[in-house]
Symmetry: C2
Subunit: 176 residues, 2 copies
């Protein structure tokens, strides 16, 4: 296990490349010898947060839970990569505050892929369904996304291959 | 990271030795090269489950959350040691079922330390407070504890040093 934990918080729209980047980061950091866990939004929704919906309050609670798991793992020397739309600034700020109050390393990584690109990718056909009125609470369509103003790292996933991006992020955070 | 995850679920009364055994197991398994995380009841209550009380429903929800975190970590090759009173058979059974349906390794370890011994230890003075009527919902005093009938391992913490017990448990589960 790595002696020191870190929380890498990936935020961005659906289709921004969070899961792909999270998995690439996981590979890079494991190869470097770290104990790494990925907390992915879809996995959370299927398990821990299966009792939650998509109201602002429920989204905040989902973010809080992901943050508390990250905190728990970070404390034990695990590099925890959270991959979650986490659309609300205040909820992300609260997670950061919990890390600071526990003297744990936290970095917000904003995947600033434009909505038009995310919508063209549409890996789960969610935008298509939202535009057709078949899906509500779609972030970027009928639900707001509050972009981070002070993310440690802001990246676009359009220009670089995931492995290259993951190495770049890891180096900039001093993890490689 | 270990290639294969495991969930080791430590259940028993307050003072039964769950935290001590969990930490000893963590040390033994980390020394053997595994990625290990401990999910401790007190840490859960201070963070992820700070919104929950001690009603049967809230206790079940606390157990469900610990189970879902274990599942998430186990899937990623982490040995996850849960240390939680988890007094209700049905809630523990549900966690086991979730692991089985996801084809993940799960072992229930019952710390069968007698109530009289737990109460004599009383590390957090909770029994004293409960007997004085200052604390409600104390498992073993005014809240029931349903002992496992089919735990993979049942141990007493009275006879062996924690490190010896941890090694013994690890060997019996094929983890060493």
């Amino acid at each position: 296990m790595s002696a020191r934990g870190h929380t890498l918080w990936l935020t961005g729209l659906s289709g921004a490349g969070k899961t792909t980047t999270a998995n690439a980061l996981c590979d890079v950091l494991r190869r470097a010898g770290a104990a790494v866990v990925v907390i992915d939004g879809d996995a959370l929704r299927a398990g821990l947060s299966s009792d939650l919906g998509f109201s602002a309050g429920d989204r905040d609670e989902n973010v809080r839970r992901a943050g508390e798991i990250a905190l728990l793992l970070n404390t034990q020397g695990v590099v925890t990569i959270v991959s979650l739309i986490s659309p609300r600034t205040e909820a992300r700020r609260a997670v950061r505050a919990r890390h600071i109050e526990n003297e744990l390393s936290f970095a917000e990584i904003y995947l600033a892929t434009p909505l038009s690109v995310c919508e063209a990718r549409d890996p789960k056909a969610l935008y298509k369904r939202a535009r057709a009125g078949e899906q509500q609470h779609m972030t970027g369509v009928d639900d707001p996304y509050e972009a981070p103003e002070q993310a440690e790292i802001t990246v676009s996933t359009e220009l670089l291959a995931p492995e290259v991006l993951a190495e770049d992020i890891s180096r900039r955070l001093g993890l490689l």
